[in-house]
């Protein structure tokens, strides 16, 4: 695997929002490193990939076992036919294509997200949209990751397509590609306040319609509630 040296900065591609707390305690690090090469549910469809992806990480991480820095497995470059064909068309629109612990993911620009999703379904046969969710990184400029977990019955394979958008931006709804996106996108809207353009019924799903705030944002503390809603609708001072 010569690609791994070319990889730009594989350590922490995403969470710059919250800093991991400084290493005060030193947990035994050998356990994660030593067994890095056998993920429980290795995918049968891609026999070579998970093993090859995890192996180079194991010796690298096994050596600094004593120092208090737990180095986990690193994302590996995912370079195969579907990725290169997407790359040749979209160029820098494909920001990253990697595997982590044998799981493939693509990071794409939000402007081409819809096209990529459409091509994933029609050309790569990822016909089943497992899940759509988001992650909030308040300190990043593009605050939200939107994550699409896709599965292909033909290849028995999973891939995650991720994109990053700013607060207030919207992406095109995937309901036309997978009808299952309907409720999943509504939940993302409910919890994060991300609008999906072209969604047939963009409204809250789990919280009541008049609720203010989006609870899974990081600036929404766990005890916070929409007090006004609680007082009007439940007739009590506070739900806490």
């Amino acid at each position: 695997m010569p690609e791994e040296t070319k990889e730009p900065s594989p350590v922490s591609p995403d969470p710059d929002g919250v800093k991991p707390p400084s290493e005060t305690s030193a947990p035994p690090t050998n356990a994660p490193a030593a067994k890095a090469e056998a993920p429980v549910a290795a995918k049968p469809a891609e026999p070579a990939k998970p093993a090859a992806a995890a192996k180079p990480a194991a010796p690298a991480a096994a050596k600094p076992a004593a120092p208090p820095k737990p180095e986990g497995p690193k994302p590996e470059l995912w370079d195969s036919e579907p990725v290169s064909s997407l790359r040749s068309q979209y160029g820098s629109g494909i920001k990253e294509a990697s595997t982590y612990l044998g799981q493939k993911y693509l990071v794409v620009d939000s402007s081409i997200l819809y096209e990529i999703l459409l091509r994933m379904r029609d050309e790569q046969l990822f016909d089943y949209c497992v899940d759509i969710t988001a992650v909030h990184y308040p300190k990043r400029e593009a605050q939200f990751d939107i994550v699409y977990v896709l599965y292909s019955f033909h290849h028995n394979d999973r891939v995650r397509v991720k994109t990053q958008i700013k607060d207030g931006d919207s992406v095109r709804s995937a309901v036309e590609i997978w009808p299952t996106a309907n409720w999943l996108e509504r939940e993302v809207y409910d919890m994060f306040g991300i609008i999906f353009d072209g969604h047939p019924d963009m409204k809250r799903i789990l919280l009541p319609d008049g609720w203010k705030g989006h609870p899974l944002r990081k600036d929404y503390p766990i005890l916070q509630q929409d007090q006004e809603w609680v007082q009007i609708n439940l007739g009590i001072e506070s739900g806490q």
Binding site: P15, A31, K35, K43, P70, P73, Y100, V130, L184
Partner: protein, 384 residues
């Protein structure tokens, strides 16, 4: 009730119903306090006479913000919370969660723990299907199966109680394996249950499979073809009843499932009756798996080497298992601290419930009850 030939006529939504001279649409509210909605599901039905023109589900009455709680608890502390989602299959929830964190930690449970996990998870699958069968049959009008199912489910709960002290929200597994070694007589109890349960299963079938009322109420009701299932993301027995042979235990085996010999039952028509047959057969296959696992239960440790303070490396992982209701997935983002940065649960009930509208269009109100039952939803998991 109309028989099947009449029913197909109902599916035609475009031709006007001539029997009512002044037919207007009626909006009917069903739930959230309705016994056949299995909890606090509210369905708004748009009706023409008794024919359903469309539905809208209102959910969230049981929303507790499990994902938010997950972000504010350590990995170990969050473990019991997952039992409260699908509370009739708490063991499966725990299995999925523990495996997802183990994957993030690159740890694998020892073989003995994996076998114990499989035994308990399959017992839990039977218990979950028993709750489904009892309540589903009750909704349609057969009262006896409810008593039979809950009577026999007691035996499973007794095994759970002996194993970990809890009957329903068991918190049976820990990250890295199992906390408890099996109690003395565990194997015998499981074997005894298998011998006891198979004749009981025949009894359920005797009550229902060829029962004319049951067949009339379920055959041809709520049909989903495989294409619709895939498009709507429906998984589990509902998907398999439509004819697609897909089970995560076979497709992407986790734990020790690859060591066991079992079949994936599938249906032909994708109707409520087929879903019933698939789940009944799944219980038989679960017994097969339990027998093999008990016979082959290896010796050895039950806990992998896991640090006391669980701090997975920075990264994210999606892991899913075949829960009794479908694909149960956990998407965990770790920032290297003791608490997950993001804890997403992909609940099978939530996604499956979305298919309700497609399934009941053109049917009668009484069939909506049958279809809600056949989807096997648990509102604790839908709302989380």
């Amino acid at each position: 009730m109309n028989d099947k030939t009449d029913r197909t006529a109902y599916l035609d939504l475009d031709t006007k119903d001539e029997t009512f001279l002044d037919a207007t649409e009626l909006v009917l509210n069903m739930g959230p306090q309705h016994p056949s909605t299995h909890g606090v599901l509210r369905v708004i039905l748009k009706l023409d006479g008794e024919k359903v023109l469309g539905t809208e589900c209102v959910i969230g009455y049981l929303h507790r913000g499990v994902e938010k709680i997950g972000e504010n608890r350590t990995y170990t502390m969050f473990n019991p919370y997952v039992d409260r989602m699908d509370y009739v299959a708490a063991v499966s929830n725990g299995l999925g969660y523990c495996e997802a964190v183990e994957k993030l930690l690159s740890v694998e449970a020892p073989p003995r723990a994996q076998y114990i996990r499989v035994i308990l998870t399959e017992l839990c699958r039977i218990a979950s299907h028993q709750v489904w069968l009892g309540t589903h049959a009750l909704d349609i009008g057969a009262i006896t199966p409810l008593f039979y199912c809950f009577r026999d489910r007691e035996e499973i709960l007794r095994i759970f109680e002996k194993y970990c002290g809890a009957r329903l929200t068991t918190h049976a597994f820990r990250i890295g394996g199992c906390l408890y070694e099996t109690y003395e007589g565990f194997e015998e109890d499981c074997k005894k249950f298998c011998d006891f349960f198979l004749p009981k299963l025949d009894e359920y079938e005797e009550l229902l499979t060829t029962n004319r009322i049951w067949v009339k109420r379920t055959k041809g009701v709520g049909i989903l073809n495989p294409e619709d299932c895939i498009a709507l993301g429906v998984t589990g027995p509902v998907l398999r009843a439509s004819g697609l042979k897909w089970d995560l235990r076979k497709a992407q085996p986790y734990e020790s499932y690859k060591n066991f010999d079992f079949e994936i039952p599938t249906g032909l028509n994708g109707d409520t009756y087929d879903r019933y047959l698939v789940r009944i057969e799944e219980m038989r296959q679960a017994v097969r798996i339990i027998r093999q696992a008990v016979d082959g239960l290896p010796q050895g440790p039950i806990m992998a080497k896991v640090p006391k303070v669980i701090k997975p490396p920075v990264g994210e992982v999606y892991h899913s298992i075949e829960a009794p209701k479908g694909e149960l997935g956990y998407f965990i983002v770790s920032d290297g601290s003791t608490q997950p940065y993001r804890m997403r649960v992909r609940p099978p009930s939530f996604v499956n419930l979305q298919a309700l509208d497609k399934m009941v269009r053109g049917l009668l109100v009484a069939d909506v009850v049958a279809v809600i039952g056949t989807l096997d939803i648990v509102l604790g998991e839908v709302d989380r």
